[in-house]
């Protein structure tokens, strides 16, 4: 780790102004991504702006037909929240599949979404559920938020404050873990709200999270795993690495989608 200055703002406004003042400064949330990269000397932000003491950033509430989760809410809180389990059980289950207990006790939804790791789980949930990412300056639909590998629509100095998930009738996540890291090698989140059916895939796309439209079309006919039989996913644009070829990933998207639909129907 290289030396850095450390700041503990009390409000989002202070955090934003600290970000503006410290060029190349970084927000610190759970630190589960940022700190390991700093320890390995892959990242060297000159300033860290810790959200830990910012009031009102953590919490889960229902607002009308939406589930609203504060940016510094930890994965474990989402996984175990009765409100989430009632409103969108598939989201609670997804949060419970992130990393290990230590990671879930530190890592935050805001950090995960801001980081947009191509193998992270939350981006798939946001995209499939049609979430809105609410920052200190604006509201960004998930569809426009995830722009590429570790890339988001966030402007410099922009802070995620909360994320709003419309409540859907059925949703579930099926995750095929990378055997080593246990991040998603292929993660498929399916959600059904009326006739709106979305299938979002993480871990597989060479440009990050994406919607599998062929699968969505098939499910529109009938929301059943049977509808997905024989529907093949193209390997074009999928990642290949030592753990999985694009073809294997394409195949797993189909398998995981079926499992997610089966789980969603069972809820």
């Amino acid at each position: 780790m290289y030396a850095f200055s450390y700041h503990q703002p009390k409000t989002v406004r202070q955090a934003a102004s600290l970000l503006a003042k410290n060029e190349d400064g970084k927000i610190l949330a759970g630190g589960q991504t940022l700190l390991p990269t700093m320890k390995q000397r892959l990242a060297a932000p000159p300033a860290l702006i810790d959200l830990g003491k910012v009031e009102g950033l953590s919490g889960i509430e229902l607002k009308g037909r939406s589930l609203v989760i504060g940016a510094t809410t930890k994965h474990v809180q989402v996984a175990t929240s009765e409100i989430v389990k009632q409103a969108i059980p598939g989201l609670a289950e997804m949060a419970g599949m992130i990393g290990d207990p230590a990671v879930r006790n530190r890592g935050t939804i805001g950090g995960s979404v801001a980081n947009n790791d191509p193998a992270a789980d939350y981006p798939a949930a946001c995209l499939a559920l049609g979430a809105t990412i609410i920052t200190n300056t604006r509201k960004i639909p998930a569809e426009q938020f995830f722009t590429g590998l570790f890339e988001t629509a966030l402007e410099p100095g922009e802070v995620i404050v909360k994320i709003s998930f419309p409540i859907v009738s059925k949703a579930a996540y099926a995750k095929f873990r990378n055997p080593a890291s246990r991040y998603a090698m292929v993660g498929v989140f399916v959600a059904k709200r009326g006739s709106d059916i979305r299938v979002a895939v993480t871990g597989a796309g060479s440009n990050g999270v994406f919607r599998a439209t062929a699968l969505e079309e098939a499910l529109k006919k009938r929301f059943s795993p049977k509808s997905l039989e024989g529907v093949s996913v193209s390997a074009d644009g999928l990642n290949g690495d030592i753990h999985a070829s694009p073809e294997y990933r394409a195949h797993l998207i189909g398998v995981m989608a079926k499992r997610a639909v089966t789980a969603a129907i069972g809820k």
């Binding site: 000397r41 095929f176 030592i242 070829s245 195949h251």
Partner: protein, 787 residues
């Protein structure tokens, strides 16, 4: 008259040989009170960080440490040239094997820091010493390397191609050793006459050892002596090797090992860093400390395994094994580790014979240099591999010939009536009832009920398979071992021996041996194992031999205590020495109830309460050396069942049954624990662990993001049984269990996977059976069936 309840008997029921006593060190380690090398600190110590080659292969034009020396806190920086100037010897391979033609193997010198060339990514070229670890790390980044990269080779097959880049000038074809064992003509004739030949291309995937505790060392130079705190597998031999490299007298070198958090063979070696640290400590007159980082240990610790063979088994029409032939390549990496060629040569034929009467075995191995991390011993060191090759062949032969795999094994197993049995590799088995173990395992695994379980798996859309792994390991070759016993001033009793516990829990079983033999209270017994100044001999731990070597040394030392004690007791009891008997911790005058306990006698000696003549021993302390404890032959039968999801390629080990013969089991609890760990390491290699280099020689699987280790949820429920036949080769009758888990797991798990996959037309699945590879094998089988 009823025999009065004897405290010693009661105590032996709790702490004697054969009791499942929990580990003495557990409370210490679990509370974080252990003392690992990184816990050792000295006033004024400095910190070292090493600069490693970023290239797999290259010519060193220059290493400029000047920019580092200007950084804050930096005290010194050293390069290969500095160590050459100091005149140290090179790091040595101590177990060379002969070439096919009888000539010596090629053993290029390895200086502690690379001088003219770098040969793998991670090869140390310089190091920086600073006042803090962070300063040293910053400064290490400032060292400027001028290296001209050369083409790299990473696999042994690639290295054996004409025109491949040569890792050494002295080995232009990259072949360190062209090893041959066996009577070729007879083997050829057996294959020619065979009714059936089974042939498999078997890979033994390279693994990264990844002990929980990274390597660490603190070097000092005090009173004209080199002193090194370092994790090892035995300080006595380590001190001698270190002295050799330092060109110092062994008396000038002191090695101290505290708690060690896993080693598996790896930490036994004298690594280059240690020479650098001792050099700096001497030059600077201050302690110098180094602790590896996890990401660094992927390229600084020796790796394990890495061998690819063609394995062939010749059988007659009835399934009698006529000959086995194993030929192929093994990877040495960029430098020869101390034991480099052993695992893929000698240990393959010694252990490949296993429990069978196969009269002929041939092994041909081309041991190749490549631009990769050096290879060294890894749990079993050729023992699991030898057994694995053979057991895969047997299952495949059974399938091809339509013979039941259990009967095929039974037909060929060595029978107890054939003991002692001389194998074609000149090993003499003393004992074992291999078929009885196989039969018991088959029963315990409910072999008969498999069809029903397979149907149930099929209903869930899963393939199910079962596999047998009958194994026999030849433990480490004979070495001397110390058995020291001290009656301490505070009333404790200290065992001193030169094997070394790196997680096994030696203290407890060694104390069980001593309490059984000498009747001293179990809770008074301490163990000294990690201080080279206290040892007069020590073979170290490795090759599953500690309980045989130290157990024998302690037993014999206890006899000597008794001999001395009888003389002293005769004065204490005022009786003739010939009338003194020893039983249950007491010296008594034969035929009377007059006697004195061994602890009481020791106390009397300490307090000076005994008047002894000149020629009588003045203490009960003993320094004993047990000579050349011979090998033993632990064996067993493991049966695994797996379920494979053909949709995803995911394999789960769903049942694991083991029946083992470890001879006399001193502590069944610890033995079972060793097996759990060994089996999980085997499952790791079988299902998930692999090491991949890219074509430039960069390690792709260089962190836990890409290198998979087995986790708790990969662990099946184990069923563990012991069916011991005591060994005749050592006084305890023990056979050694440390590596057996791997030897049983590789074959049983892979045979089970192959059994499951045979159903969908996959002919031979190699390790590691990762989801991707299993899925791809199924797709390939489908495609070829369709074609």
């Amino acid at each position: 008259m009823n025999k009065p309840t004897d405290q010693t008997d009661l105590s032996l029921m709790k702490f004697g040989i054969g009791q499942p006593v929990s580990r003495n060190e557990d409370p210490i380690l679990v509370r974080g009170e252990g003392r690992y090398t990184d816990d050792v600190n000295f006033d004024g110590q400095l910190y070292a960080v090493f600069v490693r080659s970023p290239y797999a292969h290259g010519v060193i034009n220059g290493v400029d440490v000047a920019p580092a020396l200007e950084m804050p806190g930096v005290v010194a920086a050293y390069t290969g040239a500095d160590l050459v100037a100091a005149g140290y010897d090179t790091l040595k391979c101590v177990m060379p094997q002969k070439q096919r033609d009888g000539s010596a193997m090629i053993m290029p010198a390895r200086p502690a820091l690379a001088v003219d060339k770098v040969r793998f990514v991670g090869d140390p070229v310089a190091f920086v010493v600073a006042e803090t670890a962070a300063q040293a790390r910053d400064a290490a980044e400032a060292v400027a390397l001028d290296i001209d990269p050369l083409p790299a080779v990473t696999t042994p097959e690639e290295a054996d191609q004409p025109g491949a880049a040569a890792v050494y000038d002295e080995a232009p074809d990259n072949c360190a050793l062209d090893y041959h064992f066996g009577e070729t003509e007879k083997v050829d004739a057996a294959f020619a006459a065979a009714a059936h030949v089974t042939r498999l291309e078997i890979a033994n995937n390279r693994v990264v050892v990844n002990p929980l505790e990274p390597r660490s060392a603190v070097a000092r130079f005090e009173g004209g002596r080199y002193v090194l705190n370092v994790p090892t597998q035995g300080v006595f031999g380590f001190r001698n090797s270190l002295a050799g490299v330092l060109k110092a007298d062994t008396k000038q070198v002191h090695v101290i090992t505290g708690n060690v958090g896993g080693s598996f063979g790896m930490k036994a070696s004298v690594f280059p860093e240690y020479i650098g640290l001792l050099h700096a400590a001497k030059a600077l007159g201050k302690p110098v400390k180094w602790t590896d980082q996890r990401s660094e240990s992927f390229v600084s610790d020796h790796h394990g395994r890495d061998q690819n063979v063609t394995a062939e088994l010749a059988l007659d029409a009835k399934g009698k094994f006529l000959a086995v032939r194993i030929s192929g390549h093994s990877n040495m990496g960029a430098y020869l580790s101390p034991v480099a060629p052993l695992m893929s040569t000698l240990n393959i034929h010694k252990n490949g014979i296993g429990t069978y009467t196969t009269p002929l075995i041939q092994v041909d191995t081309r041991c190749m240099f490549t631009n990769t991390v050096p290879i060294s011993a890894y749990r079993g060191a050729g023992r699991p591999e030898g057994n694995y090759f053979m057991e895969r062949l047997i299952d495949e032969a059974a399938r091809e010939m339509g013979i039941d795999p259990v009967s095929l094994r039974k037909r060929n197993q060595i029978k107890p009536s054939q003991m002692p049995y001389k194998t074609p590799t000149d090993t003499v088995y003393d004992s074992g009832d291999f078929t009885a173990l196989l039969e018991r395992a088959v029963e315990a695994a409910d072999w008969k009920g498999f069809a029903q379980r397979k149907r149930e798996s099929r209903k869930k859309g899963l393939l199910r398979g079962r596999g047998i792994g009958c194994y026999l390991e030849v433990t480490a070759p004979p070495m001397n071992e110390m058995g020291g016993i001290r009656f301490d001033a505070d009333g404790g009793v200290t065992i001193i021996t030169g094997t070394l516990d790196y997680g096994q829990g030696h203290w407890t079983p060694f104390a069980q041996v001593l309490t059984t033999k000498l009747g001293v209270p179990f809770d008074k017994i301490r163990l000294i194992q990690g201080d080279s100044d206290k040892l007069i001999a020590g073979g170290g731990t490795g090759g599953s031999k500690s309980i045989m070597a130290s157990g024998a040394a302690i037993s014999e030392a206890a006899e000597k205590v008794i001999e001395k004690g009888k003389v002293i007791a005769s004065y204490a009891l005022e009786a003739g020495v010939e009338d003194i008997e020893f039983a249950a911790g007491r010296f008594i005058i034969a035929g009377t109830d007059r006697g004195i306990g061994v602890m009481e006698l020791a106390a009397k000696l300490r307090e000076g309460g005994l008047r002894l003549p000149e020629d009588a021993p003045k203490s009960l302390d003993v320094d004993h050396v047990h000579r050349l404890s011979p090998s033993a032959y632990p064996n067993g039968c493991h049966i695994a069942e797996v379920e494979i999801d053909p949709d995803t390629g995911v394999t789960k080990v769903v049942s694991y049954v083991m029946v083992n013969d470890f001879g006399t089991v001193v502590n069944p609890l610890l033995v079972e624990g060793q097996l759990h760990g060994g089996v999980m390491q085997g499952i790791g290699q079988a299902l998930m662990e692999f090491t991949e280099y890219d074509s430039d020689g960069q390690l792709v699987t260089g962190s836990f993001m890409d290198y998979a280790m087995p986790r708790a949820d990969d662990t099946p429920a184990f069923s563990f049984e012991s069916r011991p036949t005591p060994a005749k080769t050592n006084p305890l009758g023990a056979k050694g269990c440390g590596e057996a888990g791997c030897a049983g797991a590789l074959p049983s798990v892979m045979n089970a996977i192959n059994d499951a996959l045979a159903e969908v037309g996959v002919k031979h699945m190699n390790m590691p059976a990762t989801p991707r590879r299993v899925w791809e094998a199924i797709q390939a089988a489908k495609a070829s069936a369709a074609a």
